[in-house]
């Protein structure tokens, strides 16, 4: 099988976000970059599927500037067969990213299945998987936390809120967006991380992918940090007094109950 996993490089959750001087983005100077957590599930699922199906290959794709090469190397260290960077600006919108990913998959061979994360934790858009599927003319199943692999078709469990679960069957090829619960991503061993340093990473240019700034439909600007928090009001007294006062605040102060 021809298996693809799409990964986005994002700032680590623990990174403090600082805005750029012009307010139209963040200052990338001290950022620690990681593979978006749900995308690690996408890589893991691709690797597990390869283990079940002999003669399969796992190709990992990431659209972004030069820095995303590090995340692609991490995916190689986890066990992917090859990794390709799609040379797009870091602030490409979801339409541009989806278009580039679809073009790359078209160039690299007929995909049997494409894994993405349910959402990237930087923009939290939860959009690129579905858009990619539309471009590829493939069906797409989102927020998937379990897959049964059949012949030419898969059955997915998806999380639809309220604890409700949908069981969806889809023909292959398809795009599947991974949710926590699908698997436990493996760690890359130190040895494999060193080995991956020497592996080649191909680059496809925006030109080759047919994506230009003219495809951009949105741009994020005027970033704002949340206003500084007022210090926490500590409610004192016996537990009974504290409880009464908090319920009073909820009922009368903020009228929430």
């Amino acid at each position: 099988m021809n298996i693809f996993a799409c990964i986005k490089q994002v700032p680590d959750t623990t990174t403090r976000i600082k805005l750029r001087g012009d307010g139209n983005g963040i200052d990338e100077a001290d950022i620690q970059w990681i593979i978006s957590p749900h995308d690690e599930l996408a890589i893991e699922e691709a690797l597990r599927l390869r283990e079940q199906r002999p003669d399969s290959t796992v190709t990992v794709l990431s659209a972004g500037p030069e820095r995303v090469t590090d995340s692609l190397r991490m995916a190689l260290a986890m066990g992917a067969d090859s990794a390709v960077r799609l040379d797009l600006p870091g602030d490409a919108d979801s339409g541009m990213s989806a278009r580039a990913l679809a073009a790359a998959i078209g160039k690299l061979g007929e995909a049997d299945i494409v894994f993405t994360g349910k959402e990237a934790i930087d923009d939290g858009a939860a959009a690129v998987g579905q858009a990619l599927a539309v471009s590829l003319g493939m069906p797409c199943v989102t927020v998937v936390n379990g897959i049964d692999y059949g012949d030419g078709a898969i059955t997915c469990r998806r999380d639809v809120g309220g604890g409700n679960v949908e069981i969806i069957e889809t023909s292959l090829p398809a795009v599947v967006a991974a949710q926590v619960g699908l698997n436990e991503p493996r760690y890359a061993t130190a040895l494999n991380i060193i080995r991956a340093k020497k592996k080649p990473i191909d680059t496809l240019s925006a030109d080759e992918l047919g994506v230009t700034e003219a495809n951009r439909k949105t741009r994020l600007k005027n970033f704002e940090l949340p206003p500084p928090k007022q210090p926490c009001q500590i409610i004192e007294g016996t537990p009974a007094d504290q409880a009464k006062e908090l319920i009073r605040v909820l009922a009368e102060g903020i009228q929430a109950i």
Binding site: A98, I121, A125, V160, G163, R216, K217, P226, P239
Partner: protein, 320 residues
């Protein structure tokens, strides 16, 4: 300006998040709504009372429990007939899945999970959280083409229905092609409490609850104020709560009116899921727990003493 609201419904009722969309500042826009499924004509009245000028009914049993594929196909056929400027949907489980499909199929601009949307004359503005709520950013639309926008539930209040208003109603016929995806089954979660992503109040418990049974004190308090029960990942990993309750970076992202964290330390990955809550309350034995830096109200104390008292106090207030 012409706007289409995609109306979600269940058991013959419009979803709360759909009703909220009518509460956005939409200026003088002409507001259309579309509703797909079985026996949907009964929803035209409520949609008109909320502010729809025209309601389009796609009566189709196949769409009643439709997949994203079938709904996307139906709306993708219908939307181009309207010469719209904006399509609005809730950033709900359904809206999230559907909107990007529509935007891609219609070659439209997409802005998901917005927390501010307004339309004024022919200008549309939108703002959305980025980096898990550590910042927000305005979405600039680079051309005048169609915009597909999803709005985070609980961003605005739904308007009071105006009994004197009504919408004109039109039937729409779509032709569903062969589907590649099929819904086999829906397994109901059996959750009687509201879901964390839909609740206006959430009471969350952490690892310190110590067992699944002990969560009953969190449940009792939640029930006394009509809240959902949330959980930290540590409590999920320990098997005290199901994954569906997990709030945080790898769980659900929520922004209720009130978030009450009981025995939750406030790790950055937890904050990533609840930072944008309107009012945050923390109950923790450790006055230096990071959660107090984000909280508006705090009780330094033992949750096993404080939470049952809260349940008492809430019940007394309700007079029961």
């Amino acid at each position: 300006m012409k706007i289409l609201i995609i109306a979600e419904h269940k058991n013959g009722q419009l979803s709360e998040a759909t009703q909220e969309l009518f509460g956005l500042p939409l200026g003088q826009a002409e507001v259309h709504a579309v509703v797909a499924g079985e026996s949907v004509e009964s929803l035209a009245g409520p949609l008109g009372q909320l502010g729809a000028d025209k309601v389009h009914l796609i009566e189709s049993p196949a769409l009643a429990s439709g997949t994203g594929e079938s709904l996307g196909q139906a709306l993708g056929q219908f939307i181009p007939q309207l010469a719209l400027d904006v399509v609005l949907a809730a950033h709900s489980a359904q809206g999230k899945d559907l909107a990007p499909r529509l935007a891609a199929a219609l070659d439209a601009a997409l802005a998901t999970d917005c927390i501010q949307v307004s339309c004024d004359g022919d200008k549309v503005t939108a703002r959305r959280p980025v980096y898990a709520g550590k910042a927000t950013a305005e979405v600039e639309f680079t051309d005048d083409g169609l915009k597909v926008i999803t709005v985070r539930p609980r961003t605005v209040k739904p308007p009071e229905p105006d009994a004197a208003r009504s919408a004109s109603v039109a039937s729409v016929v779509v032709e569903l092609l062969a589907q590649k995806t099929g819904l086999k089954e829906i397994i109901a979660g059996g959750n009687e409490r509201p879901d964390v992503t839909e609740a206006s109040i959430i009471v969350t418990g952490g690892r310190s609850l110590g067992s699944a049974e002990n969560f009953s004190i969190i449940e009792d308090f939640a029930d006394s104020i009509g809240a959902a029960v949330g959980s930290s990942r540590a409590a999920v990993d320990a098997g005290y709560r199901p994954y569906r309750d997990q709030v945080g970076q790898t769980g659900k992202v929520v922004s209720p009116q009130v978030y009450i964290a009981c025995g939750v330390s406030g790790a950055i990955q937890h904050l990533a899921g609840m930072r944008t809550s309107k009012h945050i309350v923390a109950i923790n034995t450790d006055p230096d727990a990071p959660i107090f830096q984000l909280a508006d109200y705090g009780i330094v104390g033992d949750l096993f003493e404080v939470v049952p008292q809260l349940t008492e106090a809430a019940k007394n207030r309700n007079g029961s």
